[in-house]
Each structure stands twice: as C-alpha cells, then as structure tokens.
C-alpha cells in the first residue's frame, strides 16, 4: 500500500528540514522517495498541519521490577484513573505508574512511538523485557545497569585490565538484550549493602576500596571502546543532596572528555545558598554542559502533583524515605547485582524545595544552548508521569505561560530562580530535535527519528496551535511503521513495536570466569541467566532489532 501525506509543514532536523512544506510517501512501513508515477492508495491532506517523526522518550521507567513494585504499592492512585476496555484496547489503569497496555496507548496518543527503560538490572532484565513485551505500539529498549555489581567491583579490586572489563560489559549487554549501559550511584548501591549511607565521587567503597570516579572511568571507556553508540548513561552520586552541583561538575571533569550522558540532571544540580540552604546550580551545570561537548543530559523535570519515585538508587531512596507521601516505601537489595527504592512523592508548588526543583529543571532546559545535547524527560515517573510532557513543552515554548506559572509557586523559591529573566522560547524545530532526531542519534537508532527516505514511517501529525499543550497532547494522526495507529488523539490500532538492541563483540572466554562465579556465588546457572532472542519473539508479538556499532 502506498500512502501519501500531502502538503504538511515538516520539521525533520535529522535531514535539516525546519518547517518546510513537503509531501511524504510511505510504502511497506518505510518512508520512500516520491515515486515516479504511482497513485497513492491513501492520500492525507495535511495542509497547515505540523509533521514530525514519532517522538522517542530516551529515559522512561516503563519496564522492570521497581516499576511493578511502584504499581503494587499504590492501588489508591490507580483507582482514581481507571481505564476501560474498548473493542480495540485492553483495560488497565493510568496516572503515576500506568499499566503496560495503558502506557503504550497513552504514549502513542501523545505522538510517541518509542520509549527506553534506563535501568535494566541484568538479573531483572527478563522481567523488564516481559513487561515491555506487553506495551503495545511503542518500540522499546533498555540500558543495562552496571557499577554496583559485585563482579565488576571484584574485577576492579583485582586490577583487571580494560580489555577484560570490556568483555564483561559486552557480554552483559548481549545477555540482557540492551542497547546501552547505565550506572546508578556508581558503587553506591553496593556500598549501601555494606551499611555505607553516602558515597561521594572520591569516597571508597568500604569493602572494595573502589571509588565512583574509577567506576565511571572504566565503564565510560568500555562503552566507547566497544562501539556502543549511546554514551555511558550516568545517574550520578548524591542524588537530591543539597550541594550536589559540585559533585556533578566534578563528575563532568573527572570523565576526562569521554562521552557521557548525565541523566535527570535536575536532581543533581543543587547548591546550598540562601536561607533554606538550598539553591539552584542550573547555571553552573548549563555552563559546563555548553563547554564540554562530550556531555549530553536529560533534565528529569519535576511537575507538581502526586507521583512515585522508582530508582535503582537504594542508598539515596532509603535516605529520601522521610519525604514519602503517602508514607510507605520499599527498598530492595538485589542479587549482588543492584538494588532499588520506591518512594511515593507529592511535589507541591507551595513547598520551597519542590518549587525550586521545578525552576531548576526549567532553567537547565533554557540555559543549555545545544538542543542536540539535551533531552526532554521527567524521568517518568520520578519527576512526573510522562503524560505531563505536553504541559512541559508549553512551559518551554511559551514564556508568558511560564512566567504566569512561576508567579504561583512558593514566593521564596521565586526569589531564588533566574527563570523570570530568561527570554528563551523553544522553537518547534528545537522540540523536534530534543524529542526525535537528537534522541535517535544519541541512542544510535538507525532509520528512526527522521523523515527522509529509508526511515521507518513513525510519523506524528499535529494541528498547529499557539497553545502548545493542547497541540502536543492530541495529534491528528500517528503512524507506527507506516500503520495508522492514532486518529485525533485516540488509538485505533495496536500493533507491536520492536526491541532495539546492540550486540558488541566479546571474547567468549569471558564466560569461564563468569561460570565459576555464578556457580560459586550466585543463585542461577550462567546458561539460564542469558536471555535468548526467542524469549522476546516466541509468542509472536515481539521482534529484536540489532543496531550497528560505531
């Protein structure tokens, strides 16, 4: 079937197209060049409409154990947002941590066609893939978590060389079916198991004598040397701690020019100035990001209201439990591999700290110059549920709306932010970079995130509307792999997306040491640990896409 999208205003930063009127042709799921003489089977008149590729959420907690703990923990949150079954869609629940099916529907209904789970614990990767296997429409993938696993820390203590570490990292990426590598509170989750309650960048793990700085260096090096496109994805030390802006600046310096992605940087940009000893470090962070081209970030914007924080950072989540609202929380130590912590949060605009967190996130967005190196996230669900993205886009694109909102938050927080003096408004092209082309480039997705011929036809069509929240919350059309899946903001079809992975090479002899370690210390045979492709594909709904190395 040949589909033609006629006369839309196209924003395709991957091809350098910024708001030009263009026709797009789709055949067999992909975008093709204008055929010489063929009559389209279906022609959509998109004159006056805005056309972008499908949006990609490069950091969203949509699969894995901590998310399911978060769901189980909050039945009252689901009760307020029941989702009825239709003749097309399954029933489920929404709000802070929606059910899997509803996650797929609601992302698609906002024009998103892919989401990436940033914290795939190697031992829990199987569950994460199974949950993501129940998310319709979206493509998905995950970054496998390393850095607090005892195997790596033993390697570092034993002074094993970078080559050995590369082999282990590559083996883990393959075993867990991941597309990147993440580190969370480097070594800190492990240190918490030894009863350490904080771990600074240069503080040693009490058992291994290894510091977060060393862990970051070897992992960032491994990711680069293996040719994995996505730079090491870093949730740094001291999340949420006033004064952690210095830790983050030191982390940027400490990586010595290696590619590094700092995630939900808002939570790592706090100073200690002012009457409340809590201040914005956004300007310093933005300056460092602007200067260091090896650094990319996503923001982890908070928005006001009830949500739940679900993180691999058991150490910091344990410390944060005193802020739990409602007052119930979970931490877990996990399989000599990682950990997790789940703490419900209610961000309040009349709470000084929450109000300033909101402003810090926005300052960061507005002070970082290069939209190819900053990404739009709320760290779903940690800063806010992903369903708040249209509101966030309006805050970025509409200065007067932003300032109206600013005028309503805690007055002392208003005094502590420079937000009112920042005139920048994001353009549609910049939004398209952050949420499409830039994200695809960062993750290394070939043939996604762009609208030129050869790309998969993941396409979103909006009605231009000066109220950007209304515009982005209800696209006219969404196509996934060329299939029309959303019309007027409602799902009309539910195909299954693919799972994006990379498969870096490793020396097979790495498995000898791992086999001995698994047999001696872990609770599973190494052969049973590795996830095979058929686990994702065998019920007919999933597929695995392997992307090239760089």
């Amino acid at each position: 079937m040949l589909i033609k999208l006629s006369g839309g205003t196209v924003y395709d930063p991957a091809a350098g197209i910024a708001g030009q009127q263009q026709d797009i042709y789709i055949q067999d799921g992909r975008i093709i060049n204008a055929p010489a003489e063929a009559t389209p089977d279906k022609d959509y008149d998109l004159k006056g409409k805005v056309v972008m590729s499908g949006a990609i959420d490069m950091h969203t907690h949509i699969g894995g154990g901590k998310g399911n703990i978060a769901r189980t923990l909050l039945p009252e949150d689901h009760r307020a947002d029941p989702v009825e079954r239709t003749h097309i869609c399954r029933s489920g629940c929404g709000h802070a941590m929606p059910s899997t099916f509803v996650t797929g529907y609601r992302y698609a209904e906002m024009g998103y066609t892919a989401g990436f789970e940033p914290a795939l614990l190697p031992i829990n990767a199987r569950q994460a893939h199974m949950e993501m296997g129940d998310i319709p429409i979206l493509d998905k993938g995950g970054y496998v978590m390393l850095g607090s696993d005892d195997y790596l820390l033993r390697m570092l203590t034993a002074k094993q060389d970078q080559k050995a570490i590369n082999d282990y990292v590559a083996w883990t990426i393959n075993s867990a079916k991941a597309i990147g590598v993440k580190v969370v509170n480097p070594g800190g989750i492990n240190a918490f198991k030894f009863n350490q309650r904080k771990l600074d960048l240069d503080e040693q793990n009490s058992h291994y004598g290894v510091t977060p700085r060393e862990i970051l260096r070897v992992l960032a090096t491994a990711v680069k040397e293996l040719g994995v496109s996505h730079p090491l994805h870093v949730h740094g030390c001291n999340l949420g701690v006033p004064g952690n802006v210095q830790t983050t600046l030191d982390t940027i310096q400490g990586i010595g020019g290696l590619p590094m992605h700092l995630t939900h940087i808002q939570f790592h940009s706090y100073g200690t100035e002012g009457d409340f000893k809590f201040s914005s470090g956004a300007a310093q962070i933005a300056e460092a990001v602007n200067k260091n081209k090896n650094i990319t970030i996503d923001v982890g914007q908070i928005l006001f209201g009830q949500t739940v924080t679900a993180s691999g950072d058991s150490m910091r989540q344990h410390a944060n439990h005193k802020h739990a609202s409602p007052n119930k929380w979970v931490t877990m130590d996990i399989e000599c591999d990682a950990g997790c912590g789940v703490v419900p949060f209610k961000y309040r605009d009349q709470n000084f700290v929450n109000a300033l967190q909101w402003a810090i996130g926005l300052e960061t967005f507005l002070l970082v110059d290069d939209p190819w190196r900053i990404f739009l996230t709320t760290d779903h669900p940690n800063g806010a549920p992903f369903t708040s993205y249209p509101h966030l886009i309006r805050l970025l694109m509409d200065k007067s709306f932003r300032n109206d909102m600013l005028a309503t938050i805690h007055p002392e927080a208003q005094k502590m932010t420079t937000l009112a003096s920042i005139d920048r408004e994001y353009s549609l092209q910049e939004i398209a970079i952050m949420t499409r082309a830039g994200a695809a480039k960062l993750i290394g997705l070939k043939d996604r995130g762009g609208l030129s011929a050869g790309n998969w036809a993941d396409i979103t069509v909006y009605t231009d509307n000066p109220n950007r929240e209304q515009m982005f919350e209800k696209p006219d059309y969404v196509f996934k792999d060329g299939q029309l899946v959303v019309v007027d903001g409602k799902v009309i079809a539910t195909p299954w997306g693919t799972t994006h992975t990379v498969k870096p090479d490793f020396d097979p002899s790495v498995e000898k040491g791992l086999k001995d370690y698994f047999d001696r210390y872990l609770t599973m045979k190494v052969g049973n640990f590795k996830i095979s492709d058929d686990e994702i594909t065998d019920d007919g709904r999933g597929s695995v896409t392997v992307h090239p190395l760089v």
């Binding site: 877990m332 130590d333 210390y521 049973n528 686990e535």
Partner: protein
Amino acid sequence: MTEITEVPSPFCGIGTDDLSIQVDGLSLKVTANGCAVNTPLFEQAITDTSPRVGGKEASLEAAVAKAAELLRNTKLPVIGGCATDVNGMRGLLALADHCGAVVDNMNFVGARNNFLALQDSGWMNTTLAEVKNRCDVLLVVGTDLEAFAPRFFERYLWTDAMFVEDSSQRQVIYLGKAPSGSASTSPNGNQAQVFECATADLPEVMAVLRALVKKQPIRSACVAGLAVADLQGIADQLKAAKYGVVTWAAGALAYSQAELTVQTLSEMIKDINDQNTRCSGLPLAGKEGDQTANQVCGWTTGYPARTRFSRGYPEYDPFLNDSRTLLANGEADALVWVQAFNSQSVPPVTGLPTIVVGRSGMTFSQEPDVYIPVGTPGIDHAGHAFRMDNVVAIRLKKLRDSGLPSTADVLNAIEHAL
C-alpha cells in the same frame, strides 16, 4: 533417552536450576539435585491427553467451543487457581478482561498478609543471592523453612559466601514454629536456636520483639510462654549482625489479621536499619505460580491477582474479590480453574458451569463441564516463572514432546471463540 541438565524448577519457589533430568519418551526421572517438593512434580506421569466435555472425550476445538459457550453470557465468571506461567497469565488476563471475570490466585489469602502490609507501609527486602553472600543472622518467623523449601539451607546458607568469612558460623534462629528436620544445623554441627510459641501468639511476640529493638522497656518477663530475655537476645543478635535477614511465609501465618504481624516485622527491619546496621526481609513464596500471577496481573492491571473486570476496568479488592466467597454467596455464575502445575489442586465443588484448564491427571469428585488437560510449564513447554524473591524470572525449559497444549494456547483459543 537423553539427560537434560541445569533444569530450572517452577515448583519449589526458590529457583533451583541445577536439576538433571533423564527423559525417556514421556517419562522423566530426576537424576540429580531433586528434593521432596520437586522430584514428584517432575516425575508425575501424564495420564489424560484428551479434553473432556461433560465427562466424554472431545477434541480440543470442541472443548474450547464449549468453554466459550459457557462463558459467553455470564455476568460474573470467576477465574480461580491462576497457577501457570507468564504467558498463561497473559492469556488468563486477556480472557478475564474480555468476559468481565474476577481473577483470584489460589494462594491469595496468604499473599494478602504481605500485600496489605506492603500497601500500608512498605518494607526493606532482599533476594536469595544477597542472603547467600551476606546473611550472618537468619531469623525464621512462624515457618518450617525446610518443609517449605527443602534445599534452602544447602543452597543459600551452608555454602560459599563472598562476605561471610566462615559460612558455617551463620546464626539461625527460629521464632514460633520449630524446624521439622535438621537442615538448619550448620555443617560443623551448630544447631539453630529455637524459640517456640503458638502461631496465633506471634502478633504479641513480634510486637515485643520490635519494642525491644526500639529499646522500649518491657515490664513483663514472659510473653506467650517465651522469656523476654530470650527475645532481647534475638533483638541483640539482629542489631549486632552485619546483614541480618528475617524470613517468613505469609501463608504460614494462618490467623486473622496476620498482615499486622508482617507489618510489625517489616517495620522492625526498618528500625534496625536506623540503628547503624543492615537488615532485610525475605518473604517466602513462589509456589505454583503465585508470584507469577501477581507480577503479571500487576503490570497488566496495576493490581495484584485478586482483581475483577466486571465493570470494564480492573478493580482490586483483597477481600470482596475472594472467589470462594463469591461462589459461596451465589454472586458468581461460572468458574474457570487454571492449574498447570499441580494435579492435586482441583477446583472447589460448585453447582455452576465449571471449566478446568489443568495439569494432566486431575481427579474430580464432580466432573467439570469442560476439562482441558494442559502441559506443565518447564516440562511440556518453555515459559517463564517468578521466583519467591520476585526480582528473578526463570526461563523454564521444554523437556519432552507431549503434544499437550499450553495454558496460553487454550485460554487464547477460548478468548478468540467468545
């Protein structure tokens, strides 16, 4: 004849995956690392291979069509058992969503003790590899651990550990129930300390233990027949441990409002973590797909596996959705029983139309309207099951070609036929 090694078990809940099984046609023999729980469930012979409708052999298509017919105009069908693998639960939930059913896992009355505590105040828990490598004091509350999981001690305590210098020096303490055997005795002969009391007295005993952990004064010298000094000893050991672990089986706390006991011990664990050391909980479960049911229902609906779809969207109620109550009160109008692991576990007898999707070899006191024998995950087909600690899903292997359909095959077919 072939031998398959490194076979994972879906039966014991503790994720043993080192079994060797000899396969001779359809017959299986556990040749290494069996136990009292796993071996009989692997070795059980296939008896029924054909579905039955009204007690008479029928084709799978006919049985599926009959099941769909029985469900088609129901108002509140109940799907009980829910003992199957991940794909089976996916099919089960799709069917329930389609026909507005109540989904109720057969072990939920026990699991509810944990869910109510979790949903009210949360907990700090751990997993089996952390126990194996870190645990220096293990407190077992109200549970005969080795009867629950015969190989627990061999696999996770009396074994090499990364962070416990001499694993035979680990301390084991039983509170409530005494152990039924000697698995908890360390390789060098150290016996577990046992403080027995009536199971029904555990709420009082745990309350005093938590108070002692928090350094609250206790005036009484004795509680439920136990010396307060002995409980003080337990509190002191937990606080002196580097990584204490408190374990319990929610189903073993078989008394009213046992969720408060789970809450007390979970809060006690949090208290210990505020006194400059580490301590974690380890809830025991994972049998007959109970964790699998709750996990899959969790991500599909947001709620654990006692959830109804009768209003077109999932509604969770840990009490009102109890299938036995719904059957007894005449609220339900059909019963689907799904049990792919255990042929001894048959549906409650009811006058309602009954469909059984069950392991081959079930015998019924009252023949169901439809019985479709299915393969067992991890024997007749590959699959996934969650271990007791919830984090770890094991990849179950197919060991033989029995031709039996999977739970998912059957439930998907019924849904499509509706």
